[in-house]
């Protein structure tokens, strides 16, 4: 079996266990009928048969790592809400916009009931009062599918007052955005949901679990994270942790894009699958496109520091990838072969982050755009050595100290581990610099080759343009 026309990109060769993509094989996987016919709402029934704290414990013991980027275990996060403060809200992060990431949209388009059931289980366990399901604005089909599924589920008594005849009652409200990457950041998501400009709040002092939506304790979870719960409650934590490794149990969905033979979305076993397995494995991407070889890859979405082929054997395990100088982020692998014009491709990322800066903090607002301007000049062949130095200087103003990067024998680099220090509020600013830093650190020659070929460089007087 390979692709299903109705699930573009999705590939399920091999007989790996499937936790969240099991219904992608059905063209009508998004309907309530199909959902019920394939074990739907069994997890919810199982949950309702137990006390909320038992359900919470089950999720905690399964260590369901957050799939939105930070990888914080869901069960633990639910437990961070302050004692005795009500109401508590759930905000579902379906704003998927990280460059390279493509999974939450598929989950919402192909299996919305699974997500709904996940929301219900979380709400039951953590005593939540209302759910807001925030879908990225540009995802028309996902919005339609989730809306239709919510309507079906309300009609069938799975959502709303007295769910399945119990005293468990909750509304799930579909909310949708209007195009802003930074709104994927959980505090910006809350601002946006409150009807404001999607600018992140500072944390510390307050994390959403303590002070979130409308100032009340709020749990923000990613779509994929919540989509794990029905299977988990149906099959139990033991079955869940039997897959993957101890610190990274279960599966996760990854999207591999770029210069591979078979780019696509795969559900892989967490913790043990390596990047080599994914990029070269027969059941995955089957290697680099014909006649070419791997130059570099980004292991965790556009914000992650880049890896060289030396790091191919690292597994999907945060505690390995961090020290090696990058992060797993949102499960997006972007692959570049040797034909890649590194500065030009890095520019697309710098441009992305500069464009998506919310403008709240100075280093990102001013620094991101400045980096973009310099990169544009360099890529256009009008850059100077001074420009390259200046980009590193700007980097120091955004992320003071050493920036994470991979070890490279060729370049004589020892790995600088993730994370880094930053002067910004969120990761958008650092991410703009990340693309500069990774590309310039790992491929200095490509930048040198683009510099202005002139013997004398005109000196621009300080402040001459003012």
């Amino acid at each position: 079996m390979s692709r299903y026309a109705w699930a573009p990109g999705y590939t399920d060769d091999g007989d790996r266990p499937k936790i969240v993509t099991s219904r992608f094989q059905y063209e009508d996987g998004y309907t309530l009928d199909r959902y019920l016919a394939t074990g739907g709402y069994v997890g919810l029934r199982a949950a309702l048969g137990r006390t909320p704290s038992e359900v919470h414990d089950e999720v905690k013991s399964a260590t369901v790592l957050g799939r939105g980027g930070a990888g914080f275990p869901a069960g633990t996060k639910w437990g961070l809400t302050p004692q005795g403060v009500w109401p508590r809200y759930l905000v579902v992060n379906g704003d998927e916009s990280e460059p390279g990431t493509y999974k939450d949209r598929l989950l919402m388009e192909r299996d919305p009931h699974q997500l709904i059931e996940g929301c219900l289980i979380a709400s039951y366990a953590a005593g939540l009062s209302q759910v807001f399901l925030y879908i990225r604005g540009e995802m028309a089909l996902a919005q339609e599918r989730v809306a239709a599924a919510l309507n079906e589920a309300y009609a069938a008594g799975y959502i709303g007052k007295n769910i399945l005849g119990t005293n468990f009652s909750i509304d799930i409200v579909l909310h949708w955005g209007a195009g802003a990457y930074v709104v994927g950041e959980e505090t910006a998501l809350i601002e946006s949901l409150e009807g404001n400009r999607g600018m992140p709040r500072l944390k510390p002092p307050f994390f959403p679990a303590a002070i979130g939506l409308y100032g009340k304790p709020t749990i923000v979870n990613n779509v994929e994270t919540l989509s794990n719960l029905p299977w988990l409650l149906t099959n139990g934590a033991a079955a869940y942790t039997a897959i993957g490794t101890e610190t990274s149990p279960g599966t996760r969905i990854i999207a591999v894009s770029g210069h591979v033979k078979r780019p696509g979305v795969y559900e892989i076993i967490n913790g043990s699958t390596t990047f080599r397995d994914v990029i070269y494995g027969e059941e995955f991407c089957q290697g680099i496109r014909d006649g070419h070889e791997l130059k570099a890859f980004i292991p965790g979405g556009g914000s992650a520091p880049w890896f060289l082929p030396d790091q191919l054997d690292l597994p999907f395990e945060a505690k390995m990838v961090g020290p090696a100088g990058s992060m797993l982020g949102s499960g997006a692998i972007m692959v570049m072969d040797e034909t890649t014009d590194i500065p030009a491709m890095a520019l697309t990322l710098v441009r992305f982050y500069a464009h998506e800066s919310c403008g709240k903090c100075v280093p990102c607002r001013e620094g991101g755009t400045w980096l973009m301007r310099i990169m544009e000049r360099v890529v256009a062949g009008r850059g100077t050595q001074r420009d390259l130095d200046q980009m590193l200087e700007i980097g120091q103003s955004i992320t003071p100290g050493q920036y994470p990067h991979a070890a490279s024998e060729r370049l004589g680099l020892a790995a600088a581990p993730f994370p880094f220090r930053m002067t910004t509020i969120c990761f958008v600013g650092p991410s703009a610099y990340n693309a500069v830093d990774s590309s310039l650190t790992l491929f200095p020659d490509e930048f040198q080759a683009k510099l202005m070929k002139r013997t004398s460089i005109p000196v621009t007087a300080v402040g001459a343009d003012s």
């Binding site: 048969g49 109401p87 990431t101 089909l141 709303g160 509304d171 195009g179 697309t348």
Partner: protein
Amino acid sequence: MTRLNEANVIIAKEIIGRYPKARSATIPLLHLSQQQNGYVTNEAMVQIAEMVGATSAEVLGTATFYEMFKFEPVGKYLVNICGTLSCALMGSETLLHHAEGKLGVKAGGTTEDGLFTLERAECQAACTEAPCLQVNYRYRYKVTTAELDQLLDDLAAGRLDGEVPPHGTVARVRQHIPADKAVGPVPPDAVVAPPAWITEGAK
């Protein structure tokens, strides 16, 4: 008159009614007005401000933050060609130049007949299917220049009318919470006790 028409006012009130605070409905209402008029007008923002209890300036501040809201008329079809890394690796720049040539406008421009607005977009969450584009937020994957030509021709000829609604309409299915099933919005300051099932257990 670019205020919400009667039918949309009813929808707007239903949307507002789902949130603990009316202000939360700002973005959905802006979408609703963009769906009605093709773009967001000042008049509509004044009305939305009244409906959600904000000042017009606050609604403007929110609206201008987001990419999808347009403040002057755009083409019937908004063609967003993704230009972020995964698509760039697969040749999206060529696709964009091709579209510019075919439509005779630069990215950001609208064709004279008011049919197309072309934009260079950022990552659309279809990276494995690069290069990709959206027409009024409907996807096209692994687009070749020939397919792009075909798409634009089909749109111009109205052959995709059923599939691609005019700019402004995003989802064509709306959530509707039946009154007898609705729990109702939970106001943040009205609740001080945990939900029933937490204290009593599920019954």
